[in-house]
């Protein structure tokens, strides 16, 4: 039950779902892409079967957004049988990461290192049941209804032609087969349907959305906006948030934001759903159309093909709880299982006709894996805020964002790297004073210093584009299988020189930002985190006009199998430096409109 009496939908028991019927469209996965596919396709009146590997979560009961730490037996921390992988583990160990952690029954990815991990740990896979192999990669996977949208970071940005046509600008890689004009109307639709908060800044390289009321900046950030704007020409803007601040008249499952700050404290988790999540934002409204069927506990492991037509006929799945095998049938199959799980599924669906994996006549499936690099981070103190009087400084879902300022023109050209990065950060008093773990000393002096510094603390970190590289790839491990007997992914992926040089520049920029603003720097982290840590894995089934060098066409439809679509991040040609969720949903909606049209014309 929602704390403010919002309605919800109780989905039927998995075993009761009708699998004898041939649905119009079958969607695998229920996160940002799967939820959007369900919404867009049902709005065309199509009968959709949505398959999700996990369960429907009782979000309100499990997340309990407002519970104080001292009302939780472990102050929100994990129970003793659960181990969370940390950065040292990701660097020191080799995948499968859980193999040496025999003492623990549950091993979860680093995402759970934040405050309050006990509330959302069960949204993530147990690495013991879901191993992967190869090079170091911190792969965060969620198998519940809504997937990672239940816990996402909410920063919602648009790409521009600086990104879609980046190859033409700097000569690296290939352009996307689409431009901003193709996607812009769908960004608008996503903005209006889901709600987004932010400030219009009129930056050509970071197009504005249609914003609801923005969040305010805290004093250190207001100061930075003025100083960095004047002296460096950088923009300090409030987080562009996938959060409805004014409410959505068309959605009864979501409240507007009430400034509780819970999503900033927990590992995600807004139990009044002001922050977007796929179930309340997309799936439950789609359910209300009467055109949606949802089958949870469905671990899909193969796309089934009709040998006569050469088209997809459905999928095979294993019931996650009972381990029984089932088939589901549809006229069109849409994969939205997350970038790497969708690609894994295509690789798993190899056959005599498709020996290298389904939809892989180009040989590009699994390749050009890209994402965002993060790690460089600066902490500091705004001395003007030391000892300041108390007010509510974290009643907001995000802090500040400094959009990309490198490689936009001749003047902003990076010295030794291409593409760019954005800077994210926050300031002001949070519930837990981070400086308590950093300030030296003990006794009354220490205690007073923590108290006086509680609202003076600020931090900033970079998030930069990782270039797509043909050699950065995933394939199937020939030996290792998961708990369901399904072959697992093997990574062959690492950062290159461009990422390392970009990280060095992030550090310099952040130091400049602090110095220019008059903030004291207390700590500088320089190294990139382990590959995958951004949880923004993209590519591996990129779109393009040429079937020889791309897996999908510009509408995310397989070049090889025309009734097969991949609508998550796998279709990205490059990662840009913007957080991808809003773009995934805009591209998915565009793809689904095309799909509906083609299906009605009998083209699929």
């Amino acid at each position: 039950m929602s704390p403010i009496g919002l309605p919800t939908v109780k989905l039927p028991e998995p075993a009761t779902v009708d699998l004898t019927k041939v649905y119009d469209v079958l969607v695998v996965g229920s996160g940002a892409a799967g939820g959007m596919a369900a919404h867009a396709l049902t709005s065309h009146g199509l009968d959709v079967l949505l398959l999700e590997a996990g369960r429907q979560v009782d979000f309100e009961a499990e997340v309990n957004s407002m519970e104080w730490p001292y009302h939780h037996p472990r102050r929100g921390k994990l129970p003793p049988d659960t181990y969370v992988l940390n950065e040292m583990d990701y660097k020191r160990l080799k995948p499968p990461y859980a193999q040496t952690l025999g003492r623990y029954t549950n091993v979860v990815s680093w995402q759970q290192l934040g405050e309050g991990p006990d509330y959302t740990k069960q949204f993530f896979v147990n690495e013991k049941e879901h191993p992967y192999t190869g090079t170091n990669f911190s792969w965060v996977r969620s198998r519940v209804l809504g997937g990672k949208t239940n816990v996402w970071g909410r920063l919602s940005l648009r790409l521009s032609d600086y990104d879609f046509k980046a190859a033409s600008r700097d000569g690296y890689g290939v352009d996307w087969p689409i431009s901003y004009a193709d996607v812009a109307p769908y960004y608008d639709k996503v903005d209006r349907y889901l709600g987004i908060s932010g400030v219009t800044e009129n930056l050509p390289w970071l197009p504005d959305s249609i914003y609801q009321r923005p969040m305010r900046l805290n004093p250190a950030e207001v100061h930075m906006r003025g100083v960095l704007g004047d002296k460096k020409g950088w923009v300090v803007t409030p987080f562009r948030l996938g959060v409805t601040t004014e409410g959505l008249a068309h959605n009864k499952y979501r409240s507007r934001c009430f400034g509780r700050g819970a999503c900033f404290r927990r590992v995600g988790g807004c139990d009044i759903h002001a922050a977007f999540d796929s179930p309340t934002g997309l799936i439950y409204p789609a359910w209300d159309t009467g055109h949606l069927t949802v089958r949870t506990n469905a671990t899909v492991h193969q796309v089934l093909m009709d040998a006569n037509t050469g088209k997809a006929s459905g999928v095979a799945f294993i019931d996650t709880a009972t381990k029984k095998s089932y088939d589901a049938k549809a006229k069109v199959v849409v994969l939205a299982a997350s970038t790497l799980e969708s690609t894994r599924l295509l690789l798993l669906s190899k056959s005599r006709q498709h020996p290298n994996g389904l939809a892989n006549s180009s040989g590009h499936l699994g390749r050009n894996l890209c994402e965002h690099v993060l790690g460089p981070r600066v902490h500091g103190i705004d001395k003007d805020r030391i000892g300041a009087k108390r007010s509510n400084e974290d009643g907001r879902p995000g802090g500040f964002y400094i959009p990309r300022f490198r490689n936009l023109d001749e003047k902003s050209k990076g010295k030794d790297f291409i593409r760019g990065y954005g800077l994210e950060g926050s300031s002001g008093q949070e519930m837990f004073p981070e400086d308590a773990l950093k300030l030296a000393g003990y006794g009354q002096a220490y205690k007073k210093k923590v108290r006086d510094h509680a609202g003076a603390f600020l931090y900033m970190y970079g998030l930069g584009e990782v270039l797509p590289r043909y050699e950065n790839r995933v394939d199937l491990d020939p030996r290792v299988k998961d708990a369901f007997g399904i072959p697992v992914l093997r990574f062959n992926y690492q950062y290159g020189d461009n990422e390392k040089k970009m990280c060095a520049d992030m550090v310099t920029s952040m130091q400049e930002a602090f110095a220019t603003s008059g903030f004291e720097i207390t700590r500088v982290d320089r190294d990139p985190l382990t590959e995958g840590s951004s949880v923004h894995e993209l590519g591996t089934a990129r779109m393009g006009n040429d079937p020889k060098t791309s897996v999908l066409n510009p509408f995310l439809q397989s070049h090889d199998v025309k009734n097969l679509f991949v609508v998550d991040g796998a279709g990205f040609v490059s990662a840009a430096c913007q957080n991808p969720t809003w773009t995934i949903m805009a591209l998915c909606w565009r793809s689904c409109d095309y799909l509906a049209g083609e299906l009605k014309r009998g083209e699929l």
Partner: protein
């Protein structure tokens, strides 16, 4: 690490000297919270002796003062003991016994008696000794101090006393709109506007309320 972060020896000594004077001015409520440790009882994992050491060291790290109760009032030792009791990591559990034994060992070395028998002034001297390499721990006792302090801080600032009395945290409440930090009566800096920034000229009407 900047100088801002590191309390100098001189500062620490000045504070120690002032501690007695501060105690004399404590309000009655805070004094009640400073109260002597209760008769030592064994913890769920730690022995009575170990728990008493932890309780005392915790209070020395975060003492009661006029603003709020300290680590003892916030039951930090009890919290840490409960985490140890349920842990399935034998190495981690043993490391706590070793860390607390280190405190006793240093007390014996410095004053010829166990930690709990040394005077308040001697305890302050011991704290100086065990915290001196906090930023770059070398000896066992340096590591022991870092571990104990980390856990005491974690326990204290997630407690009711730490969040509300000590830090006077204002959030985790329903508010109509996040208006930003109150920087009245005047902005911190001439360039800053009162009450934050970016407020649209006409705030849009709110469509749904609970």
């Amino acid at each position: 690490m900047s100088s801002e972060d590191a309390i100098t020896r001189r500062q620490a000594l000045a504070v120690t000297a002032g501690a007695a004077a501060a105690a004399a001015t404590l309000p009655e409520a805070a004094l009640a919270q400073v109260a002597k440790p209760v008769a030592p009882a064994a913890g769920k994992f730690l022995s009575a002796h170990e728990l008493a050491i932890l309780d005392e060291v915790a209070e020395l790290i975060i003492p009661a003062d006029p603003q709020s109760g300290g680590a003892r009032a916030a039951k930090c030792a009890e919290y840490i003991d409960a985490r140890l009791a349920e842990s399935i990591d034998p190495l981690w559990r043993q490391s706590w016994k070793d860390d607390l034994a280190e405190i006793d060992a240093v007390a014996s070395e410095m004053f010829g008696k166990p930690f709990l028998n040394v005077s308040p002034a001697e305890r302050q001297k011991l704290m100086e000794r065990i915290s001196r390499n906090e930023k770059s721990p070398k000896e066992n006792i340096d590591h022991s101090f870092v571990t104990i302090k980390w856990w005491v801080a974690e326990a204290y600032y997630t407690s009711k006393i730490g969040i509300h009395d000590e830090l006077q945290y204002q959030g985790n409440v329903y508010i109509d709109e996040f208006i930003g930090t109150d920087i009245s009566p005047k902005p911190a800096r001439a360039s800053d506007k009162v009450g934050g920034d970016h407020r649209p000229a006409d705030p849009p009407a709110v469509e749904s309320k609970p």
